[in-house]
């Protein structure tokens, strides 16, 4: 049995395998990040941090439906000061940790990045793409090429860490967003954030279930859309892509990698298969690679392109 090499180098971050915990799932504490790392993730992302603490939307904030989940958490987070305390001594996690940073103004992003600069994060991810939090992401106009360029440039100026720009699957001109990010000096594109928003109604109560009424759609429902986004972005930019959306098996991860992703984010998959999904996905990838004579995961990035 030949050795299967799952390791990837993502913007000079060494990952033992391409699976990354997506932002907003389990990323509230250092202890949970550590546990996710122990369960096989190649890297982990913290839940997005804003300048001030936020309580987010009221419950219900996360619900499942037949084809995935809907969430409108509303960026609840302790704010940058408390986050800096929580994520001190990040080496405990023993896997690369990606900081996720959100803001309503360009200035907020900068402040948060500065507030976290003393910590041992391996990269900064900026989601300009949340579909359900007033003041942030799409609802604040951050999903245009121009806003993307400006916010990315501002962060580029103040950090030497790799910057990942996370984009929305909603936006028809997704490639121009990715290009704007690349032009502004982003080191990678994270594609994609949750889609929609969508809604579920409880017909007995005659009310939308989420307290915010609508929420971003993730999981199986999102996968083909996310895959197409990654496929298109791969043709549009030269920087690597972290493919996120509906991945819960090794096959899904390999699909995403063949579409052009250098690494894959996993969120809703934790709901489908538990925290050890990272390990499971890696084992499934390895087994498939073994059976199909692929020794090195890097060799099949973008393989579905002609």
């Amino acid at each position: 049995m030949s050795r299967i090499d799952l390791s990837v180098n993502l913007c000079n971050i060494q990952l033992t395998n391409p699976t990354i915990l997506a932002s907003g799932i389990l990323g509230t504490t250092k202890a949970l990040l550590k546990r996710v790392g122990e369960n096989g993730a190649g890297a982990v992302t913290i839940k997005s941090i804003s300048r001030e603490p936020r309580e987010g939307h009221k419950n219900p904030t996360v619900i499942a439906f037949e084809a995935g989940m809907l969430n409108a958490v509303g960026y609840s987070n302790p704010g940058v000061e408390a986050a800096a305390r929580e994520f001190a001594n990040l080496e405990d996690v023993r896997k690369p940790v990606i900081a996720s940073v959100v803001g309503t103004q360009k200035d907020d992003f900068v402040r948060v990045v500065e507030g976290l600069s003393a910590l041992k994060f391996s990269a900064i991810e900026i989601p300009l793409s949340c579909p359900h939090t007033p003041g942030f992401g799409l609802l604040a106009g951050q999903g245009t090429p121009q806003a993307t360029f400006e916010i990315t440039s501002a962060i580029r100026r103040i950090t030497r860490l790799p910057v990942f720009v996370k984009v929305s699957p909603n936006i028809p001109e997704i490639c121009s967003i990715a290009k704007a990010a690349e032009d502004a000096g982003a080191d990678a594109i994270t594609a994609v954030n949750s889609m929609g928003p969508g809604m579920c109604i409880n017909i007995e109560a005659r009310k939308p279930i989420l307290s915010f009424k609508v929420g971003g759609v993730t999981g199986d429902a999102l996968r083909p859309i996310a895959l197409r986004c990654v496929y298109d972005i791969y043709k549009a930019v030269k920087i690597p892509i972290i493919g996120v959306g509906g991945i819960s098996t090794g096959r899904h991860a390999l699909e995403m990698i063949m579409a052009g992703a250098s690494a894959v984010g996993i969120g809703t998959g934790v709901y489908y298969r538990g925290i050890d999904i990272f390990q499971k996905v890696c084992e499934e990838m390895s087994q498939w690679m073994q059976e199909n004579g692929v020794n090195n995961i890097k060799s099949i990035i973008g393989a579905a392109h002609d």
């Binding site: 504490t29 969430n71 408390a82 929580e86």
Partner: protein, 259 residues
């Protein structure tokens, strides 16, 4: 497990004490003692409650009136509907099924009722602030009670009463639920006397099914890995009795109780 809240009709309401009401509703869902549901009041909020009565086709939750949500629940009448989803969490491990002790403090007693009903030769200890706040007195005839003000049973805490028992009686296992400070002391005593123990924790919850990370306690998810934990697990959980996570996600010192 159901994925989305299901509206159920409240078919009966019992006053357990001035501050606690039990709401019964028909449900075919199967629960293990210690598991919980997320209760939804449309347009208001959604919060976790342990199942305190498991009967054929009918379950009950006992609710202490505390803030906005529980007050809204207390205002519900028979015939009104609420949404529930669940069952969630890992309940008590009842393999040790006799010669056990349950130690309940306040509304924590709600989590232990179904344990008592499943096991044999159970010593039930309940602590409350005062006589009127004691719960389930008719349901469990030979409970051992104590009150902070001495208005019923021993004047003192459930921990004191439990300590008294430990010197004279040998238990095969202890199940406890109540204010976290109380449970910390129950755990200490269990270790001292080398008795197995399981503890049911409370943390603020969002998803209830192990995704959002809100209910973390030292890397364990109270909603999914718990709410029940045993001594071995608690040993690894530095935050037990020390830190909780606010709605914002901030990890802050526990003050007296989760609440």
């Amino acid at each position: 497990m159901i994925e989305q809240p299901m509206m159920v009709k409240i078919c009966d309401i019992w006053g357990e004490s001035p501050g606690v009401k039990t709401f019964f509703f028909e449900s075919q869902l199967r629960f293990d003692p210690g598991q919980f549901v997320m209760v939804w009041i449309p347009l208001l909020d959604e919060k976790p409650f342990t199942i305190s009565y498991i009967q054929d086709g009918c379950i009950g939750i006992s609710v202490l009136k505390r803030g906005v949500f529980t007050t809204a629940l207390h205002n519900k009448k028979t015939g009104d509907t609420i949404g529930i989803r669940g069952p969630y969490g890992r309940g008590f491990d009842l393999k040790t099924n006799s010669d056990v002790c349950v130690v309940g403090g306040g509304i924590g007693m709600a989590s232990l009722t179904t344990v008592v009903e499943r096991l044999k030769r159970v010593t039930v200890i309940q602590g409350a602030r005062t006589l009127t706040e004691l719960l389930y007195q008719k349901r469990f005839k030979d409970m051992h009670v104590c009150t902070d003000d001495g208005s019923a049973g021993l004047k003192g805490t459930a921990v004191d009463l439990f300590a008294n028992f430990l010197v004279k009686q040998q238990f095969r296992k202890v199940y406890t639920c109540g204010p976290e400070r109380m449970m910390v002391r129950v755990v200490e005593l269990c270790k001292k006397y080398a008795v197995e123990c399981e503890v049911s924790l409370e943390r603020y919850m969002k998803c209830g099914f192990g995704v959002c990370g809100q209910c973390d306690c030292s890397g364990k998810l109270v909603c999914k890995d718990g709410p029940v934990f045993d001594l071995q697990e608690l040993d690894m959980m530095g935050d037990f009795g020390k830190m909780i996570i606010r709605k914002t996600g901030e990890r802050v010192p526990l003050n007296g109780s989760v609440h």
